[in-house]
C-alpha cells in the first residue's frame, strides 16, 4: 500500500428521483478536489450520462486541447436510471474525453457496477483533469464520505491482477467484495493510442473479478497518460429504491414483466443468456455480412468452427447468472472459465476470460482469418488485461495483414513478425509487444490512421491503396460488420459523430435483407431516428441490448416491429417512474437529439465535424480489388446493367471496378445530402441555428462555433 497523498471528506447526498445533484471534480496535477452543483439547466438539456460528460468536457477544453493536454478530462456519469435493480441493463456508465485517435470527443460505455456505485456514493458525474507526476490510485468511499488519493507505483499494471488486488484491499471480507468496483487499464495503454478502460465487478459465484470495457477511443491511454493507475469506488447497501423513484410500483411491474419475457422467450430467440452477443456470428456469415480478412468478404466456410454452438458446448460456462449489473436477467456477459493460456507472460495459468462478445469473434477471428476458438479466447484475454480496445486492434491488425499480403510492407519491416491472415501466433506476439512497448507492437498501437502515414512515408507503400483499405474514419477504426452492400450502414458508420462505431445505427438487415429503406429519404429517416433513439440509452444509464435483443411474443403484430414498441414504452414508463417527469416517445427523441447535436457541434469545434470528415474508405462502399469484385460478380454485373445501363460483358474487370466505384461514391454523396437535410445540417454537415433553436439548444456557446461555418 502506497503513501496517502490526499484525503477529502464529504457528505454523500441522498439520491432523489435519480439524481444526487452533485458532481465530483478531481485535478491530479495539484490534487484539488471539488464538489459541483448539478443544475436544472444540465438536467433539462443534458439529462445525465453522456450528456453530463460532454457538457463538463466542453467547459474544460479549448479548440487547442490535445488528448494529452493537462486540461483534457475523462468524465464519467451513469444517468438518472442508472442503478435501478428491477430492469435489465441498468448499470451502464458513459465516459467521454478528447480521443488520442481522433482528436475530437469520444464517448464510450461500460456495463457493470462502477457507475451505479459512484452515483450512490453521491456523485452524478466525475471529472478527472490534470496530470500526476507519479502513478496514483483514487479511492471513493461512498459509505464514509471519503475520497483518498494514494501512491500506486507498486501495484501491477495488468487488469486481471490489479483489480483483484485493489478489490481485496478495499473490501473488509468476502461478502464485501461485491461492493467494490475498479476502473483501470493495462500495460499496453502506456504505449499506444487504443488503450481502453476496464470496469470491474466481483462475481460472488466464481469468486473473482470480472470486467466490462469502455473500449472505444483510447480512454485507457488517457488515464495512463495522466498517471492514474486506477479509480476505485466502494458502496455497500444496494436496495431496490436507492434512486428514490417517484413511482416504484410501475418500475416493479415493468421489471417483473420483462424478467418473465426473458424467462419465456430468450432461449427461443437469441439465446443471450447462453452465448451473449456472439449468437449472431453464424447468421452474419450465412448472410455474407461477417467481416473476413479486413472486410474483403462477408464470411468463410470455416466460420462453423467459431459458431455460437461451439462456444456454448465447449467453452462457456452455462446455467448461472453472469452479470453485469444487478437485475439484468439478460445476463449476457459470458465467460470461459478455467481457460489455459498458452502464450505471453501468463502462459500456463488458468484464467477466466470475459467473452467472447460478437466483436471479438468477428474481429479477432474472421477479420484476421483466424477460425480457432481457443486462439480467439486467448486474444480476448490479453486485449482485456493489457487494456487494448479489441475492435481497434482487430481492424488495425487486419489492415496490417492485408498490407503485408499485398506486398506493401515486408516481414522485415514488421521486425520479423509474419503477420499474414490466420497466423494466430503472430497476432498474440503482436499483443505481447504492445504490452511491452517493443518492436512492431509499438507502431501497431498507434492505430490505422497513423500507420497509413508511416507505411507510405517510411516503407514506400501505395497511398491510394492504403486509403482504400484502411478501415477508419476520423481516426477511429470501424467496428466489425461487413457492410459493402448497405448504403444505409455506410452512412451509419461514416457519418457517426465520434467515428465508425455502430452504436448510432445498425441498419444492415433493414437495408440489405428486408429492403425496408429503399429510397434516400427512407435511409435518411432511418439515419435520423435510430441514432437519436439508440444514443438515448447513454443519457440515462441503460444498456441497449435489452431493447431489441429480445422481443415480446406479439412484437410481429405491431406496425414497426424493428422499433420494438413495447420495450420503448417500458423505457418511457421507467423514465417517468424514476424521475417523476411525464415524457413520451417524441420527448425521448428530443432529449437525445439535444445531446446529439451538441456533440456534433463539439466535434466541429475540435476540428472534425464537417462533410470532409464524414467520408468512408472505399472498402466500406464497394469492391476495391479484383478478387472482391469477382467474389460477388453476378451481383455487381447486375448493378452495372440495371442501375447504370452499362454492358458488363463488353467491359474488362478494371473498367467494371472503376465504373461501379464512381456510381457508389456518387450514391454516398447523395445519401450525405439527404441525411444532412434530415438532421438539420448544412450541406457541409454543420448543424444550423434553426435546428438548434427548434430543439432548444440555441446556446450562445454553440452558435459561436457554427456561425463562422455557415
Amino acid at each position: 500500500m502506497g503513501a496517502i497523498l490526499k484525503q477529502y471528506s464529504y457528505t454523500p447526498e441522498k439520491i432523489i428521483r435519480g439524481y444526487s445533484g452533485k458532481s465530483l471534480y478531481i485535478n491530479v496535477s495539484d490534487l484539488r478536489i471539488e464538489e459541483k452543483e448539478v443544475t436544472d439547466f444540465m438536467k433539462e438539456k443534458f439529462i445525465g450520462g453522456k450528456g453530463f460528460d460532454l457538457w463538463y468536457l466542453w467547459n474544460a477544453v479549448t479548440p487547442e486541447t490535445r488528448w494529452n493536454s493537462p486540461e483534457n478530462e475523462i468524465v464519467m456519469s451513469v444517468g438518472p436510471l442508472g442503478g435501478i435493480t428491477q430492469y435489465s441493463g441498468t448499470g451502464k456508465t458513459l465516459i467521454a474525453s478528447i480521443s488520442p485517435l481522433t482528436g475530437i470527443p469520444i464517448d464510450s460505455n461500460a456495463g457493470g457496477y462502477f457507475g451505479p456505485l459512484l452515483k450512490f456514493s453521491g456523485w452524478d458525474a466525475f471529472e478527472l483533469q490534470g496530470k500526476s507526476d507519479k502513478d496514483i490510485i483514487i479511492f471513493i468511499d461512498g459509505n464514509n464520505g471519503l475520497i483518498q488519493i494514494e501512491e500506486g507505483e507498486e501495484y501491477p499494471e495488468d487488469t486481471h491482477l490489479l483489480a483483484e488486488e485493489l478489490t481485496s484491499r478495499f473490501a473488509v471480507d468476502e461478502n464485501d467484495m461485491v461492493n467494490v468496483s475498479v476502473v483501470c487499464s493495462g500495460s499496453a495503454a502506456k504505449h499506444g493510442y487504443m488503450g481502453m478502460l476496464n470496469f470491474s465487478f466481483y462475481d460472488p459465484r466464481r469468486k473473482l473479478c470480472r470486467f466490462k470495457q469502455a473500449a472505444r477511443g483510447g480512454l485507457g491511454t488517457i488515464l495512463r497518460d495522466k498517471k492514474v493507475k486506477a479509480l476505485v469506488v466502494k458502496y455497500k447497501g444496494i436496495t431496490p429504491n436507492l434512486n428514490n423513484a417517484a413511482d416504484i410500483s410501475t418500475i416493479n411491474k415493468v421489471g417483473v414483466k420483462y424478467h418473465k419475457e426473458m424467462h419465456d422467450l430468450d432461449s427461443k430467440q437469441n439465446k443471450m443468456r447462453q452465448i451473449g452477443t456472439a449468437n449472431t456470428v453464424m447468421i452474419m456469415s450465412q448472410y455474407d455480412l461477417l467481416p473476413t480478412r479486413n472486410f474483403q468478404t462477408g464470411g468463410d466456410p470455416e466460420t462453423i468452427k467459431i459458431s455460437p454452438q461451439v462456444f456454448i458446448n465447449e467453452w462457456l460456462t452455462q446455467g448461472l447468472h453472469d452479470g453485469c449489473w444487478y437485475g439484468c436477467t439478460m445476463s449476457c456477459a459470458k465467460c470461459a472459465d478455467h481457460f489455459l493460456l498458452t502464450s505471453g507472460p501468463y502462459a500456463g495459468e488458468r484464467v477466466t476470460v470475459d467473452g467472447p462478445e460478437y466483436e471479438c469473434v468477428a474481429g479477432l477471428g474472421a477479420n484476421l482469418g483466424i477460425f480457432d476458438p481457443q486462439a480467439i479466447l486467448e486474444e480476448n484475454f490479453y486485449c482485456d488485461t493489457y487494456g487494448i480496445d479489441l475492435i481497434s486492434f482487430a481492424t488495425c491488425t487486419a489492415f496490417i495483414m492485408e498490407c503485408y499480403q499485398r506486398g506493401q510492407i515486408t516481414q522485415e519491416q514488421m521486425g520479423g513478425l509474419d503477420l499474414r491472415f490466420g497466423n494466430k501466433d503472430a497476432v498474440l506476439e503482436l499483443l505481447h509487444q504492445m504490452s511491452r512497448g517493443e518492436g512492431f507492437g509499438k507502431l501497431a498501437g498507434l492505430g490505422t490512421r497513423k500507420l497509413k502515414k508511416i507505411f507510405v512515408e517510411e516503407f514506400g507503400a501505395d497511398p491510394a491503396l492504403l486509403e482504400d483499405i484502411g478501415m477508419e474514419v476520423k481516426g477511429l477504426e470501424y467496428s466489425e460488420y461487413a457492410h459493402k452492400e448497405s448504403l444505409a450502414q455506410q452512412g451509419g458508420f461514416a457519418m457517426a459523430t465520434k467515428g465508425p462505431q455502430h452504436d448510432e445505427a445498425w441498419l444492415i438487415f433493414m437495408d440489405m435483407v428486408n429492403k425496408q429503406i429503399p429510397t434516400f429519404e427512407d435511409k435518411a429517416n432511418a439515419l435520423y431516428y435510430f441514432p437519436m433513439f439508440r444514443t438515448w440509452f447513454g443519457l440515462v444509464g441503460l444498456c441497449k441490448l435489452p431493447w431489441n435483443d429480445i422481443v415480446p411474443s406479439d412484437n410481429h403484430k405491431t406496425s414497426e416491429p424493428a422499433k420494438v414498441p413495447e420495450h420503448v414504452q417500458n423505457y418511457v414508463d421507467i423514465f417517468n417512474a424514476v424521475t417523476g417527469q411525464n415524457i413520451d416517445n417524441d420527448e425521448l427523441i428530443l432529449q437525445s437529439e439535444r445531446v446529439y447535436q451538441f456533440q456534433r457541434v463539439f466535434s466541429v469545434r475540435m476540428g472534425k465535424g464537417e462533410r470532409k470528415d464524414d467520408y468512408a474508405p472505399y472498402r466500406s462502399l464497394g469492391p476495391v480489388s479484383r478478387e472482391e469484385y469477382l467474389s460477388r460478380q453476378e451481383l455487381y454485373d447486375k448493378q452495372l446493367r440495371d442501375l447504370q445501363g452499362l454492358e458488363p460483358e463488353s467491359m474488362n474487370l478494371d473498367e467494371k471496378i472503376a465504373k461501379l466505384r464512381a456510381y457508389r461514391e456518387d450514391q454516398y454523396e447523395q445519401l450525405m445530402d439527404a441525411v444532412y437535410r434530415r438532421r438539420g445540417w448544412t450541406m457541409n454537415g454543420i448543424p444550423t441555428p434553426e435546428r438548434l433553436k427548434e430543439i432548444g439548444m440555441d446556446l450562445p456557446m454553440l452558435l459561436e462555433v457554427i456561425e463562422p461555418k455557415l
Partner: protein, 156 residues
Amino acid sequence: MPCWLTETRTILTIEHSKRERNSSMKVLTHKQELCTGCLDCEVACSQAYFKTNDPNYSAIRIIENNRTYRARKCTQCGECINMCTANAIYRDRNGVVRIDKKKCVGCLGCVGFCSELVMFYADDLDVPFKCIACNICTKACPTGALEVLVSQVKEF
C-alpha cells in the same frame, strides 16, 4: 479456485447441483380433496410475516375453480438459485429455498423467472417472499389439507 469449477475444458457444470442430488428438502403440500377454500392459511401466513390480513402478502394463494381449490406455493424446486443476480438465494439446512435479505437487492428477477409463479413481491417490501415450509399455515388449516413433507431435491 472456486470448488465447484471442474478442471476440464468441457461444459463446466455447477458442482453444487451435483451435491444437491440425493439430498432432501421440506416442502408444503396441499390436498385438494380436503380443501374447503376457507383461506385461513392465507390469513395465518400474511399475519405472521407481515402483520396484515391481506392475501397479497401471503406466500400461499388459494385458487378457486368451480368450487374446487388448489394451492399455489413454492415447490422448493430451486430454479431461482442459479439465476439470482445477487447470489442471494440458497437452500438452508432443511433443503428449503431461502432468500438472504442481506444480499438481495430487490431486482425481482426470481419473481419473473419462477415457472410456478410462486415467488411474490409487494411494492413496500425490499425483498420478495415465498413459502418456506414453516408449518404456520398447516396448523391454521381446519381440515388437515396442508402438510409439510420431506421430499427429494430434483436435479435441474
